[in-house]
Amino acid sequence: MLWSGGARRLAVLATLTCAGCAGNGAGLDQNGQPIGSEGSGSNEPLSANLQSIQDNVFTPICTRCHIGASAPEGLRLDAADSYSLLVGVPSAEVPSLLRVMPGNPDESYIVLKLQGSPGIVGGQMPLGGPYLPQASIDVIRQWITDGAPNSSAMQTASRREDGQTFILTGTAPLDGARVPAPLRQIIVAFNHEIDASLVNDANITLERIDTSDTQALRPLPLRAALATGDPTVIIILPRIPLGPGSYRVSVRGVGGGALADVNAGTLGADRAFAFAVAALP
């Protein structure tokens, strides 16, 4: 016997007390971030916009697992990554469904996983519970119904630009990102309501980049439209889902008939972003 009975009991008791103390939270927000830091959230109650969902659901609950380089299914839900890895991105478990399909919560895999709906692979989220109350899920559904706008990026942009200049605030996929094939839709978000009459394939172009030495651009047919319920977001649907390869999306921001907001404000310059689509292993 290595230890006496008394010493053993003391040691077990010590196990209960040696974990150390929890932090007192001084100077931190409700997500444990220093108040006023870049990652600090707000104390606003949950509402149907990404910033609020991030602060009330993704950051305090989901990022306990879905964070970092080894996040489950490659899904990172921190504030910097959640939008680009959710909206318009095929789920890893059921690739035929997008994690978030703007305008359609019933076809958005994140909603199915949060609800524990039939057809999901694996368990309901958050894994092992407690599961989100239906009221919280309904708020997320409403955000998706509204077109799943990137409000956090827009808020950042509007702070930076004082809300006056019409600017592109976010894309999915992100510029330089690598996403799994097939890619069925691309999302471009702006800070102002867009003039719907200017959303067309003359102002929005999608091209495949020839990866050979020529780096030639081959235009691809597409359909572009404002997101249902959110006139600040353009949904680009390639006629044929994008397979493995490199692609570039361009937005014409100057010249006659260029994309503009409802107040005729233009981007002032053409905008473009590129990304790669990779085959599923």
Partner: protein, 365 residues
């Protein structure tokens, strides 16, 4: 398996177990209490999943408080010398409180898993499947082929696998499991080389680094551990590096076990630096200390204390968690677990102050 073969196996198992100072139950503390390596009771050399015939006999003769006689035929998992099956089912009743939220009480099928091992060349080449069949749709956990050397000193496996890195606990929500991102919910696709020599045990794996998601970059994840196992104690070192486009992650774990009379101690401390987490928030520290007290055959008291510093660049943000779980194994293949789990953290985050009370029925074979 023929009855005579089984009896020989049973004699062998009981002989080995008779040499051990005490009986044991499930999870890594079982290995610490018996002084055995994980691969003694599990087909997977790094633990978890399908039990070996030795593990099945152990579960029937040593684990339970009482053994219900099944006559000459005893379950050993082997359909024949080529094919083995097994499974785990966990069903929970939970009551959970979180400040500021309504309490939640629920019954839930936590997990049902089926294991299949086809030893197409017995003792040398096998195809292994670990499939979660509930809740939700079927989900591959592990699927790999494994080749053993003739001396059984090394093996190579390839497919989807749990990564070797520290203690492989049953509780996938433990801080040391979530902080590293390496646990049984995040198998990865790759290859693993294992080496076992006397008291030494080592594994090294190369995988996509996407935790089951599709590969999105050219970087790979490297995971490894080296463990020294003595009958009364063991000490291990685990390391992980994930070369990811979103930011590299590195992790280092020191872990071990000690047997002191009826108590098996488990401990792990790990440091993680994940550069993919924004705002310099990726430097983390997680620890676990667990005591498993075998009060009587089939009766185990598990006490666990955990500590987490979720961002070492920020002060006063630490979290703690205490668990007290009583595990009763009244008869073979059936375990009843009752426990409480208290979380504590910064006062402004209600989610860090959860109180969980649970009852669990665990069936396994």
């Amino acid at each position: 398996m023929k009855i005579c073969d089984f009896r020989a196996l049973l004699r062998h198992a009981l002989f080995v177990l008779a040499l051990l100072a005490s009986a044991a139950h499930a999870e890594p503390y079982l290995a610490v209490q018996t002084g055995l390596k994980c691969g003694q009771c599990h087909v997977n050399p790094t633990g978890g999943g399908l039990r070996t015939p030795f593990g099945d006999v152990f579960a029937q003769r040593i684990m339970p408080h009482d053994h219900l006689d099944t006559g000459a035929d005893t379950w050993a998992g082997e359909i024949n010398r080529f094919l083995s099956v097994g499974g785990d089912v966990r069903f929970d009743g939970q009551y959970e409180t979180t400040p500021g939220s309504a309490s939640v009480d629920s019954f839930a099928l936590e997990q049902a898993r089926i294991y299949l091992n086809a030893s197409v060349i017995p003792t040398r080449l096998a195809v292994y499947v670990d499939e979660q069949v509930a809740p939700g749709g079927a989900l591959n956990r592990e699927v790999y082929g494994m080749y053993w050397s003739a001396s059984h000193e090394w093996y190579l496996k390839a497919g989807q696998l749990y990564l070797p890195f520290g203690l492989r606990l049953q509780d996938q929500t433990a801080f040391i499991q979530t902080v590293s991102g390496i646990n049984m919910t995040t198998p990865d696709q790759g290859a693993e080389f294992g080496w076992e020599h006397n008291a030494w045990d080592a594994q090294f794996a190369v995988s996509n680094g996407t935790a089951g998601g599709p590969e999105v970059d050219h970087g790979k994840q490297y995971s490894g551990q080296l463990i020294y196992v003595e009958p009364r104690w063991r000490l291990g070192l685990g390391a992980n590096f994930n070369d990811a486009a979103a930011g590299n992650k590195s992790a280092l774990a020191l872990f071990g076990g000690l047997k002191s009379g009826p108590i098996a101690w488990l401990a792990q401390a790990e440091l993680v630096d994940d550069k993919s987490i924004p705002n310099s928030g990726g430097k983390m520290l997680a620890t676990l200390l667990e005591a498993d007290w075998l009060l009587a055959p089939g009766n185990n008291l598990k006490i666990t204390s955990e500590y987490l510093d979720p961002n070492r660049n920020v002060a006063e943000n630490a979290e703690t968690r205490w668990s007290l779980v009583y595990e009763l194994t009244p008869i073979q293949f059936l375990q009843l677990r009752a426990g409480v789990r208290y979380s504590d953290g910064i006062p402004q985050d209600n989610a860090e102050h959860v109180r969980l009370y649970f009852l669990e029925v665990h069936g396994f074979f």
